[in-house]
Symmetry: D2
Subunit: 395 residues, 4 copies
């Protein structure tokens, strides 16, 4: 693994205030926003993106163009034609284009510092291990894998190779959700009493890998319900003690022959706090949560979307009992990748560590068990708060 | 019981369109709203209101002034001073003012057609039975009583006396909630998949009867959680098959020595539909529900409030994915009382019958059992859809 | 004129807090709202309502049922059938029903303290003078009359008869508009820089008196544009110095053969403040204004409607730059009539005096002159701030 | 001038649907959004950005990174240190960094196809002419210049040099404003009756060039009021016939010694339509307009902001009288630059031509004249609809 050029040295930057009397001053506001800072290209972290599906083409590659500390360095795909076209569009030379078979040669590509794994869930383990062996840091999409045992293997492999492992929990690098977490910590809504969280959408092509249990590991719960699960743990800064769940799959719908359509579950947290969560592959888009305390509530609509968050704060004030909270939207993927690049540049532990992903997987397994048996399932002793978390991103 | 003067005859009314060239035409809109119709005072139903607490003084008596078919005829209180003052304000003669002790003399008061029972829950049964024996129709506040056995006694007593019994489920006479029910019935959001419903507020004086189990029969669940319960049954037009619940009471809070602070429960309905409900006596006001279907959702904020309903309809439309639904607010208490007066005037069965109240009580008992045992509790065979319901109010 | 029974004596009332341990305490909030106070019926001010058009039947008579200090005492109409039916509905005996011809006999009716004139604009002067001569206080709908000379006559007649005269500027008794006025006074938006105000709607039956100049005195401007005019003067607490106006009437539209369809005008106030106003009889409903200051703005939608006000406050705050202001809606007509009853009971001058109405008429005449000549028209020396205004209503 | 490589040939692109069974399908929606298409870097239009002020550093350079057909090729600044730092951040080699003095050497730089002029208004003319002489296409910030004569010179210079000239009217490439224009054209609000438009903000450093008349040419009107002016012409697709204006500058405020603080003006359009516009350098941010027709209205808040547009559509529908219109936000600067690149690549005339800018300047001069004289000023015969406009951008 190469040494990073910028460790310990501040990036070149443009000071907001200069002596220029004419051109640099912010003129519309007395306190100008800080100017953006781009790292010179040769100091940015180079990513190999593995998997050229919808998420990569529609979000991750465009986001990499916007990044300040991250750049696209290589592409990996099982689809030669798509690989070639995408390479052309993003100026990735053929020497940095890989198939799944020849991927291990990436070890020799010094332009690549990290890989971003954007593959079907069942392939996360394999490519995490191969990336680690190639000496590359790993940013892996959620869910981390399709079983808690796989998660443990991935953590071990990265540890053994001394590479960093981060799970791509976008939400934990997003300003609205971070604001909620901070408000809760600062007791802005008093003592939290309960949470309700939903993440659902309607289904597409039934031949997609998401509907094949061997590839996905499960249905709505690990794919999108995981947002309710993970974000609730994040904002409450707490781990559940017990779960109870109902699971339902429409027997007539071809999507749900192998996987779950809908799961409605409760998670009991310390101090009597309960989270009521719902996830479904067959509802009109509903991506939201509400945290209710004894002195207020926070309601975040489109909480898990790429854009369009809308946050309301209910409080006991006569004339402004409901306030819409305004926060500048960011490109969440760019934010997430630049954070990981920071970890690499400064040799620090990522906030959404492999252990954070592993604990989600343990809870998912408990939820499925409850739905199957009809009984509540205890999680006592199985989870550990903030296990191996790095420092919080500053957002 | 006296005969009603207006049965079968239409009220005097003012036609909206007349030949008046000058004064009657609506001029601001091409389709004027119908003019309000007041029944002449001597044809209105006379109510005795029992209990002069906050709800009666702040809502019910002012609402009676606005009613078109209902008027205030008598007052009943255990508090002579308050009785006298309230009588003075609402022009109720001393001869129509009663104490709890001499209440049975109301049988001789021909101005009184019906009683509205606005007392602590534990007194509902007694006054329903005494009113029935006095030959007066009964409109009883929710929860109907403090046990399902009491509910059955009340139904029997009214049946025996051939008087009508209606439970004051305000929500079922309110236009926003009725609109939601109708939209669901008309498949405006496709097939319903799940519901989340909350009703909570913060507590006041710990000496109030609501915190005494002997008077209230329970805590947040029967008092305010019942709205989630009853309204979900109403809008889905379905009965739950099973419940699972967590209950919590802060051991340090003096309010909750005898009763529950918070209950979070799931109700499983036919077809895999799940309602996730939360009620609490110790949260910032949150009175709402959201019904999610495969083609849209309906989100009603302040669903159970006296005013301030806000309804959003999410649908798969490109430019208007979320629409706020505008409906004219009404005085819910006036609406509810005029509906009951209609039932009396036309000798029809009320929509929110005693049986509707009884079934809520059965579910409440199952929820408490689940919270106590930690197991799901089946309701199969215990509930009957639309049991003894009269015709729907036209709103 | 009879003496008022309640002058100087407080009304019977119910204290909010009593020693009742059970029934009176507000239990949902720690600070219960004050209980409503009704004056006993024989102490309320009795109104004769003149004109049984849409406004009277749809708004004013129902509002009188809700009033606490005002009651319906007589009806006056040129339409015998309507008079009879309305009398039946509101329990007004035939002895208190009048035609326009025998109206002067009302002088002998001791149940009547005041008249509310709800007639075509051209009849306001006549009935104000006849009412004054009958010794009755006068509440007159806006616009006060169809010329400033008529306004002056009306003021004189009431003065000569020692009866009170109030113009029914509903908006000045309405909580949202009052809140705006108070916020401006308290510098909540800093120094006001400009205002934009609109009041428009679409037209109905072209045979209505509003489209006959002889009856109405003008078109959109005096009927609905007057709200922009009057409310701007009210909230700014200032009088305009100059106006400039464009007027337009679609030559093909039968509504606008005699009267103006649309007027767009500017009013220059002291200190460079400008109000830009628009009124139209042929637009989709738009009833609003926005006041912009150097430290914030207030935007009131549906400002002039009977219900549905929505107030936003823009301010330089990072997370809450736009706040919706929550204020309890009231029945504006009841509020306005109870205020006038208060003036009568306590012998005080009304806030929206005849002089306030006269000054609007002077400005209307200047606007029409500007539109006709194409030149700005000065108002210097013609208006006087707060001329003969009584004390502000406490809302 | 070099030939463009891509004229007439379609760019390499990625088809949305492929035969890939696993990775490309959109899975969350049945109709996936089209994938983004990036032109290979060597086929993109290269821009020299002149002026490294707040707008360039904060918006334009980051936007160029997001562009699909445009890239940063050179930088021009009078501030060597800033030039060097910015070059480092955006990988612009020193050979493509210019001072104002040596700017004309850019003629020899084949990487530069176009210049984007982001300088004080008084410098627009000079650099447009120098750019044209260097054979570079010109994208010039608004206002086009400080007098209509200057505008005419600029148009001539570009014509003589056969280079394209586009004025950077961002709003006309922005989806919300374009949606409004299209709705009006499609009669979605019936016949337009009036418009009100505001653009104001509070002032910053009084030493900024905007407050020096020699550099800016005027105050709030040409700088920000121009948005009201230009956008109204754009959405109405019409030219004003007459203007009337009030102008105000606080004599005590050091910002407004040379320039106008606030202008409130009316523009009369054909058919009686009036636009009431306000602009101010000393108000709390208010950037909006409302177009009112006889069948509806459109209200766009934050209309002229870089982000945060909020569009409401009022219409005569019972349950949805006000609808919020949802449109995906875009980076407006990237949109604008890629449109100009398209014009260059396909040799077409820009939509916001120099003539569009010239006509704004003519109107600005008429507004100042009206404010000065106190009389309305006619524009008849001075403006021509859609003068030299290219085809509408497809947004």
């Amino acid at each position: 693994m190469k040494e990073y050029k910028m460790q310990g040295t501040p990036p070149a930057h443009i000071p907001v205030k200069t002596d220029s009397p004419i051109l640099l001053e912010g003129i519309h506001s007395k306190e100008p926003e800080p100017m953006p800072i781009n790292y010179p290209e040769d100091q940015q972290i180079g990513y190999a993106v593995i998997g050229l599906g919808h998420l990569t083409l529609g979000e991750i590659l465009p986001a990499l163009k916007e990044c300040k500390k991250s750049k696209i360095a290589a592409l990996v795909s099982g689809h030669p034609e798509k690989l070639k076209k995408t390479g052309l569009m993003y100026n990735v030379p053929e020497s940095s284009q890989y198939s799944y078979e020849d991927f291990d040669e990436i070890a020799n590509n010094d332009d690549v510092d990290a890989v971003f794994i954007v593959l079907p869930n069942s392939m996360h383990k394999e490519f995490t291990i191969r990336s680690a062996k190639a000496g590359k840091h790993v940013l892996c999409e959620k869910p981390m894998a399709i079983s808690s045992d796989e998660c443990r293997e991935m953590i071990e492999a990265c540890k053994a190779a001394s590479v960093k492992l981060m799970i791509a929990y976008r939400i934990q690098y997003e300003p609205f959700n971070t604001y909620v977490k901070n408000q809760i910590r600062e007791k802005a809504i008093g003592t939290v009493k309960f949470v309700e969280a939903q993440n659902g959408q309607s289904s597409g092509n039934p031949d997609h890998w998401r509907y094949k249990k061997a590839l996905s590991g499960g249905g709505a719960l690990p794919d999108i319900g995981i947002y309710c699960l993970n974000t609730t743990r994040f904002i409450l800064d707490a781990e559940p003690e017990e779960v109870f769940a109902y699971q339902y799959s429409n027997p007539k719908d071809p999507h749900f022959k192998e996987i779950d359509e809908m799961v409605n579950w409760q998670m009991k947290f310390p101090g009597g706090v309960v989270a009521q969560c719902s996830t479904s592959y067959q509802i009109h888009t509903s991506k939201r949560y509400r945290v209710v305390g004894d002195e207020g509530w926070l309601n975040l609509d489109n909480a898990y979307g790429y854009v369009g968050q809308k946050l309301l704060h209910g409080k006991p004030e006569e004339h402004t009992p409901v306030q819409e909270i305004s926060i500048k939207h960011v490109n969440q993927f760019a934010q997430e990748m630049d954070y990981f690049s920071d970890c690499i540049l400064n040799d620090t532990q990522p906030y959404t560590s492999g252990e954070v992903g592993l604990q989600d997987q343990i809870i998912i397994e408990a939820i499925y068990e409850s739905a199957k048996t009809g009984n509540a399932v205890s999680l006592k002793g199985k989870l550990q708060k903030n296990l191996n978390r790095g420092k919080e991103p500053s957002i």
